[in-house]
Amino acid sequence: MAYEGDELLDDITSKEYEFGFVTDIETDKAPAGLNEDIIRLISAKKEEPEWLLTWRLEAFAIWKNMREPEWAHVTYKKPDFQAISYYAAPKKKKQLESLDELDPELRKTMDKLGISLEEQKRLHNVAVDFVMDSVSVATSFKEKLAELGIIFCSMSEAVREHSDLVRKYLGTVVPRTDNFYAALNSAVFTDGSFCYIPKGVKCPMELSTYFRINEGGTGQFERTLVIADEGSVVSYLEGCTAPQRDENQLHAAVVELIAHTDAEIKYSTVQNWYPGDKDGIGGVFNFVTKRGLCDGDRSKISWTQVETGSAITWKYPSCILKGDYSIGEFYSVAVTNNMQQADTGTKMVHIGKNTKSTIISKGISAGKSQNSYRGLVQINKGAANARNFSQCDSLLMSDRCGAHTFPYIEVKNKTSKVEHEATTSKIGEDQIFYCLQRGLDEEQAISMIVNGYAKEVLNKLPMEFAVEAQKLLAISLEGSVG
């Protein structure tokens, strides 16, 4: 995939955070603070069944007894959980018959994000579920998907319309007790996406959700659940942007994937939330739990992520390889610039026989940022002939940034094979000069070298988004060599 040089230049000339605008719509916002009443309010606002309220309250009780994790290689001022508003929904909340009924302000937001729904429909054949703050505003393509029996809707709608399915799977991959932020999310999640692919169905289009944090001072607690039933195939993409804000915003999502026998889920993320300014003021705290369960034999889950935003990223999309011959993959590019910090990686837990996992991680650090890869490869006793290959590369763009690798490997089966490769390199002045000598300017040179470095991962993204991701890398690294 090649990007066009001119387009890239145009993008690069816009130096400020590109998506730093605030949409002016009235929002329905809960008072700050977290207690059982707030949880009851969220549940009532969303017209949820009783079982879910109980589930949330139990999660809240679990959370109250947990402590914020401190093992990650990041430093930050801990959020004041009582200062956050846990619910913000655009006020005009009536059900829409068509996308034309959308609030014009909201439409503008989508246009700025470059995801005009009509465009998406016509050009990309992508179904978009647009999540603004907490409530999913409109879902396109739903009818077309419904013909195949595919359910793709907001989590709130799924809770109302497909309560049994949600109840059956919610929290089965990431239990409420899993970690501090997962427990918090379980108590207060407001929306997210739900996706169910029935037996034997190949989803004919990329399913896509754009998350966007809009309201100042709100936390966003997405809950996403993707279920691929036997023999089905689905590719899902989430893209994230947040407007520029001075106070830190918390984002603590939980994503659960379940792949049954012979099913395949590909989950791609492009994350460019506001990273804060050059001095580390502002920016999103991205504390996310993402995990997939390869439940059935020969199932496959593949995570691809391009992480360029957020002040702090704490995220380990993982695979539990339970079914025999199941496959887990993790392809990641994580870019940190200025004062950004990222501690990201994956866990591959091999339980079934002949399971296979691949980890390709490409870290890029610039400015004074800190970029860590943290990964666990665990081969359990019964996982005969399990295979893992890990490759963790770090690219340093300056003398003041840090790149760290924390690989954990636990092997309990002698027939398994685990390979780990790691490299750290500094971007070569020779490489940059070579490009300059051929007439490219420094920004182009860096963009080209970095994109080349990350190519193995970028190639895993769905075509339409690979180009966007390449541009994002270039934008994130503007003026970063030194």
């Binding site: 090649a2 040089g5 001119d6 070569g428 020779d430 490489q431 000069f433 070579y434 490009c435 300059l436 000598q437 051929r438 007439g439 490219l440 300017d441 420094e442 182009q444 080209m448 070298i449 994109n451 080349g452 470095y453 990350a454 190519k455 193995e456």
Partner: protein
């Protein structure tokens, strides 16, 4: 085309060029020879605009413009090409994308429309044939996993694509076997024209059997100490550099 006057340059605190002067007219091929450490590669680097080298004195005018005043990429866009002694690898970036971007920038600088994909491919096909470069090589990452000979052929291929006014070849012959040398030289000769000049930097006379220069200069201790025609190269081949060194030292004394 190129006019270098009293050029002095240093890297860190080491003085390397100590008053070098050279005139290159359109269409001429100048060979720069000299013993190791005489400043040959420094000259190439300074002309191309490497920032590690500090120019402390002198002027360089290129097509009437002050070359030293231009950043490296502008020098390239103005038509100065350096064939590197050690071409670098850029993993993951295909030769084609790399060249497409480079050709695009240079055309833009000249006020020309971008080439269509079709015309670009046509050009690639035509120019890669000049250096007998396999079509596959064009699709591989820039210099990654190339043999020494392939890298040097790739440099000449890039030169052919970018159509410079002045090409500086920095020890393009180093590490080449006789067949590769012939191919590279044929490529260069095919690109010779009345309005394109070459500065060929080499340690050995061998290359000059194939790329026949109009002038040969001997660089020693950062200065051109002797100039002549191609016969001078043959004499150097026969007698080595010592007699030149002796000549220079005796003049000093």
């Amino acid at each position: 085309m190129l006019s270098i006057k009293n050029l002095q340059a240093k890297i860190e605190d080491k003085e390397i060029l100590r008053g070098l002067s050279l005139e290159v007219k359109p269409g001429e091929v100048h060979a720069i020879m000299g013993p190791n450490g005489s400043g040959k590669s420094t000259l190439a680097s300074v002309l191309a605009g490497r920032e590690e080298y500090e120019v402390t004195n002198g002027t360089v005018s290129f097509q009437g413009k002050d070359l030293l005043d231009m950043p490296a990429e502008i020098r390239a866009r103005e038509g100065l090409f350096l064939a590197f002694q050690y071409p670098v690898e850029i993993p993951g970036v295909s030769n084609m994308n790399f060249l497409k971007a480079a050709v695009g920038e240079i055309r833009k600088h000249k006020g020309l429309e971008p080439l269509t994909a079709k015309d670009f491919l046509k050009l690639v096909k035509e120019k890669s044939a000049l250096v007998e470069l396999d079509g596959q090589l064009a699709n591989r990452a820039v210099n990654e996993g190339f043999s020494g000979g392939e890298k040097k052929r790739n440099e000449i291929f890039q030169m052919a694509m970018l159509e410079p006014k002045l090409a500086v070849l920095d020890e393009t012959d180093s590490g080449l076997d006789i067949d590769a040398l012939r191919i590279v030289a044929n490529g260069v000769n095919a690109l010779r024209s009345p309005d394109r000049s070459f500065v060929v930097i080499t340690h050995y006379q061998r290359l000059l059997d194939y790329i026949v220069p109009d002038f040969v200069h001997v660089l020693y201790k950062g200065r051109i100490v002797k100039s002549g025609t191609k016969e001078l190269a043959l004499e150097l081949e026969e007698r080595g550099y010592d007699w030149i060194k002796d000549e220079v030292e005796s003049v000093k004394a």
